[in-house]
């Protein structure tokens, strides 16, 4: 498969792809079909460039293959082992690799064996990774069960290689491990561009990366994702190229200081078809173009609730993309980027947000997009607009999954419409955009302060925003009305596949069938904005749902050694007081040759069977006695010589007291 979705190498603003080397083409196989790529591509960027845009089907609906969700992959030869699983967006494209997507297939795997010619034909025509996304076994293909390497110790671990994480790593003394999910450091700062008189992000990132490269005490792990945090231990999955071959490993890392510089995720606007192929977030679209020169289709519509969407529209337009229009869910937004777009002749419309994205009649992966009026009290939709690509931007949500996994608290912040970290955790700090900072300088400063060992109270970090008169603040992430029929409205872009509820029902089950896996923080925030989760509960719900990992039989068993030998007259606590203050422990002999089962009740009549009128209980076999049982009975029964019956499964059994046991004398 060629690469139909690449921008020209000389596209403006670096949209030709800074990470790829077009002079070094390569080819690998994915699900049997050849895919062409360049050195520097990830498997995901290469697949998207090649037009493989669908992850699979979810209850009959195609779901986009993108940075929010892509099925795990493995080298075909190792596909059966969890240790070999890799993430598409973190796996470098390597020439000659033969990769397959893991997880349940849309077609039976047996087809590959029974009719290989047909399988090749189907693969050749496929634009999909062909996973069944509505199958609970989807998760089974991941590295959650991979065997971790030995524990690595450091003085500090920084998770996230954006400007806050890089600053934190540089400010830390001792052995530092810096973990970055992407293949290069830098985070999302480039997406936002230069704000005010701040250092331009490109220069800042280059400066920090250069210092890190020159600092021997900092170990950088790229293509590495921390996926579990417990106490001061992290589990990290990393994809590497060793001797030209792809490999994956799970590491356990520990440090007394852990800095979470995990950034902020872009929320998914909620509308029917919001996870269809060719619907992309603004940050993802920026990175694809800026890193890999990937842009799906020739035309695009940009729907945004914030000013940075306009910046992306400008960059894309300059790079040769036909930006059909920019819609804004806010009314009359003010921004220098709005002015620049107007000056560039881009069509702008405010007070509109996506109502639906459906497959266009002409096919070729194009979309038909409908917008709705977001002005309060007004209703109505636009005509359907065909486009190659809908970039649907959302507001920001600090990435707090690890923080919550580690036992951190969170609360919904209505000012920003996000869940923010609350309180503290020993040895764990949240910095940068994950802590809610928005300006680059504030992110850098918070990173620097996170590991300050001066012992002094850190200075408050200033995070000034441009006055709302000049730069309208971000609006909330748009949510469209529910629509019957095709086109699922997902709350977020991850593995949970949580759906927008049709009606808010109080009796919805705790996990609805559509909410198979843990709810992401984005799911929870969207549910809050829909009114289906109370604001006061949002933090607790996110804490409860932000778990990961698997449960497996670890072989744990309770200690079953018998306690120290008790005296023959001892009785367990639950029999105290049952048969008077001073019951008698005796040996009973049954009328016939049988064993009396411990726990059976003893009655003064064969007609009785109500436990409330029992006069004793069989305790068990006395040592050295073949037939008979130790029992505790009411003392009056012994004194009066009353006939006794033990009731077991066969009915009442007459028994006689053969011996009264005495408590041993105290030593």
């Amino acid at each position: 498969v060629k690469s139909p979705h690449r921008l020209p190498a000389d596209a403006k603003h670096g949209f030709g792809g800074a990470a790829i080397d077009r002079g070094k083409p390569l080819s690998f196989r994915f699900n049997g079909q050849p895919v062409e790529a360049f050195e520097g591509d990830t498997v995901l960027s290469a697949l998207l460039a090649a037009g493989i845009e669908t992850a699979g089907m979810w209850h009959g609906e195609p779901v986009a293959l993108d940075e929010r969700f892509s099925p795990p992959i493995a080298l075909r030869a190792k596909a059966g082992t969890p240790d070999a699983a890799m993430a598409m967006d973190r796996t470098p494209a390597v020439g000659g690799a033969d990769l397959v997507a893991l997880g349940p297939h849309e077609r039976p795997l047996s087809l590959d064996r029974s009719a290989p010619w047909l399988a090749r034909l189907l693969h050749h025509a496929s634009h999909s990774a062909e996973r069944r996304l509505d199958d609970p076994r989807l998760i089974e293909g991941t590295w959650l069960r991979a065997t971790p390497l030995d524990l690595l110790e450091a003085d500090a671990i920084v998770v996230g290689g954006g400007v806050a994480g890089m600053s934190a790593a540089l400010a830390t003394s001792g052995k530092v491990v810096l973990i970055e999910r992407r293949t290069t450091l830098g985070g999302d700062a480039r997406f936002f561009g230069t704000i005010g008189d701040e250092e331009p992000p490109d220069e800042l990132i280059a400066r920090l990366a250069s210092r890190i490269a020159g600092t021997a005490s900092i170990t950088v792990l790229t293509s590495a994702e921390a996926f579990a945090l417990s106490g001061n231990r992290l589990r990290v999955h990393q994809v590497l190229v060793e001797n030209g071959a792809l490999t994956a490993r799970v590491m356990r890392l520990t440090a007394p200081r852990i800095v979470l510089a995990t950034g902020a995720a872009e929320r998914l606007p909620v509308f029917p078809g919001n996870r269809a192929p060719r619907v992309t977030g603004a940050v993802a679209a920026f990175h694809r173009a800026e890193r890999f020169g990937v842009w799906q289709g020739h035309s695009a519509i940009l729907a945004t609730p914030h000013n940075f969407g306009y910046r992306l529209a400008l960059l894309a337009s300059d790079a040769g993309v036909d930006v059909q229009r920019v819609t804004d869910s806010r009314t009359a937004p003010q921004s220098r980027f709005v002015d620049f777009c107007k000056a560039s002749g881009i069509t702008l419309a405010s007070g509109l947000s996506p109502r639906a994205a459906d497959p266009a009649p002409q096919g070729n992966g194009a979309l038909s997009v409908t917008f709705g009026v977001t002005i309060e009290g007004a209703a109505g939709s636009t005509e359907t607009i065909p486009t190659d690509h809908l970039i649907a931007a959302g507001n920001w949500q600090p990435r707090l999954a690890l923080w919550l996994m580690g036992g951190g608290r969170a609360a919904y912040d209505p000012r920003h419409s996000w869940l923010g970290a609350r309180g503290g955790l020993d040895g764990i700090a949240v910095v940068g955009a994950a802590a809610g900072y928005r300006g680059t300088a504030a992110c850098v400063r918070s990173g620097e302060q996170a590991v300050s060992s001066s012992g002094e109270t850190p200075e408050p970090i200033s995070d000034p925003q441009i006055d709302a008169i000049f730069e309208t603040p971000p609006g909330i992430t748009p949510i469209a009305p529910w629509r019957a029929g095709r086109g699922a409205s997902f709350l977020d872009g991850g593995l949970s596949f949580a759906l927008r509820p049709q009606q808010l029902r109080k009796d919805a089950p705790v996990l609805t069938p559509g909410q198979i896996y843990s709810l992401s923080i984005g799911d929870v925030v969207a549910a809050v904005e829909l009114g289906s989760i109370p604001v006061a509960d949002a933090g607790a719900i996110a804490e409860e749902r932000s778990v990961g990992g698997e449960l497996a039989d670890t072989g744990w068993r309770p200690a079953t050694t018998a306690p120290a030998a008790a005296a023959p007259t001892d009785i367990p606590a639950y029999l105290h007081g049952r048969f008077g203050a001073r019951p008698q422990v005796v040996v009973l002999l049954p009328g016939d040759q049988r064993n009396l089962e411990p726990g059976c009740l003893i009655y003064p009549s064969s007609d009785l069977g109500d436990p409330l009128v029992a006069v004793g209980v069989v305790l068990g076999q006395p040592p050295g006695v073949a037939i008979g049982a130790r029992a505790v009975v009411a003392r009056a029964v012994v004194a009066e010589g009353i006939a006794l019956f033990v009731r077991d499964t066969s009915g009442p059994v007459a028994v006689q007291i053969s011996e009264k046991l005495k408590a041993p004398r105290p030593a």
């Binding site: 009785i571 606590a573 001073r582 726990g599």
Partner: protein, 359 residues
């Protein structure tokens, strides 16, 4: 206009608290308000509501028999499908627990429950299993909203859990909520959260214990568990798979690090299960495993603790006791478990632990 006044303020948000408030209103004609946070469909449940619980006291089995029959009749009148039927397995592995379970089975059988010894090597090869058939379990997700709606129909006022409660000099209590003062003659702490929130550790009765717990839900399992409901007595773990297949809910004592391996080991044959949700919280229990009821703390709140998974099914009996009209055996049962009878607690202790010598 005088402040509103209630005979009882029931603090709690569990089905037991709701049933108690509703019964005191509808059957015993008390003026009742309920103080607590409303049920949220997205929050993790902190336990199961089963009509039986482990006990080696015959009087407890008698109460369960009567209480569950009344509760099920009541639930049938409140709504449809508010409870389901399961055949829970109780598993003992340690020798002392095996003896306890053996006795419990004979008590259950003698009280009229369908209890039997079960053998399932997939669950335990060395331990013993007691299966009790036809046990009711509240349908989580359906029962809670139905009970809240029932209380609304009965006119039971709901007051948010954040309301402040203080004793009045002349007796009784005042509840402050949203600038309003509400009076109550008696305040009942009807669940763990209410006890934890309203009684400082120093004010709790010495027999009350606060222990960490976790509740966990998995993604749907591809296989059915060996039994849909299993209580592992020596592991402190209860697992429940609703509908016989699919998502598993598990509850375990202890901190997460210790509890998770025990839960994982208590799902034999299920294969690896993805953890979908988890809640960590504090469970109030009693040191001797027996229920504890009565006034405690300097504010003299009435606290009810130690009813285990069966609290909801004992609600009719507790309601009669609070209304002052218990049956003779009910009064005897609950008075023996009153906080004022702490010195004679040995006669109600309900735990397989620590045999005590007698003369």
């Amino acid at each position: 206009v005088s402040d509103p006044h209630y005979d009882l303020a029931i603090c709690g948000g569990t089905p037991f608290a709701c049933l108690l408030a509703g019964l005191l209103t509808s059957v015993h004609h008390r003026r009742v308000c309920i103080v607590g946070d409303r049920w949220s469909p997205y929050r993790m449940p902190h336990g199961l509501d089963l009509s039986v619980m482990p006990s080696a006291r015959p009087e407890t089995w008698a109460m369960l028999k009567r209480g569950s029959a009344e509760t099920l009749k009541l639930l049938g009148g409140i709504g449809r499908h508010l409870f389901e039927r399961v055949d829970p397995l109780f598993v003992a592995e340690a020798p002392a627990t095996t003896d306890y379970l053996g006795h419990m089975r004979w008590l259950a059988l003698g009280t009229g429950f369908s209890a039997e010894k079960a053998v399932d090597r997939a669950i335990t090869a060395e331990g013993t299993i007691c299966r009790i058939r036809d046990v009711a379990i509240l349908a989580g997700g359906k029962a809670e909203p139905a009970l809240e709606a029932w209380l609304e129909d009965l006119g039971v006022r709901h007051i948010p859990g954040a309301a402040e409660i203080a004793p009045r000099r002349e007796g009784g209590f005042t509840l402050q909520h949203d600038g309003e003062t509400i009076g109550a003659t008696q305040v009942v702490l009807a669940d763990d959260e209410a006890i934890l929130a309203r009684l400082a550790a120093s004010e709790r009765h010495r027999l009350l214990s606060a222990a960490p717990m976790i509740a966990l839900a998995t993604a749907p399992a591809t296989k059915a568990l060996a039994s849909s409901c299993v209580s592992w007595l020596d592991r402190g773990v209860i697992v429940h798979q609703r509908g016989g297949k699919g998502q598993v809910n598990a509850f375990a004592t202890g901190e997460a690090d210790a509890a998770l391996p025990r839960i994982g080991a208590s799902l034999p044959g299920a294969g690896p299960l993805h953890r979908a949700a988890e809640a960590r919280f504090i469970r109030i229990g009693t040191a001797d495993g027996a229920p504890l009821i009565g006034r405690m703390g300097k504010q003299h709140f009435t606290a009810i603790a130690g009813l285990g998974e069966s609290a909801a099914f004992l609600a009719p009996i507790i309601a009669r006791y609070l209304a002052g009209v218990p049956g003779e055996d009910e009064a005897r049962y609950l008075e023996a478990r009153d906080v004022t009878r702490a010195k004679t607690r040995a006669s109600v202790a309900d735990t397989p632990l620590a045999p005590e010598p007698i003369s």
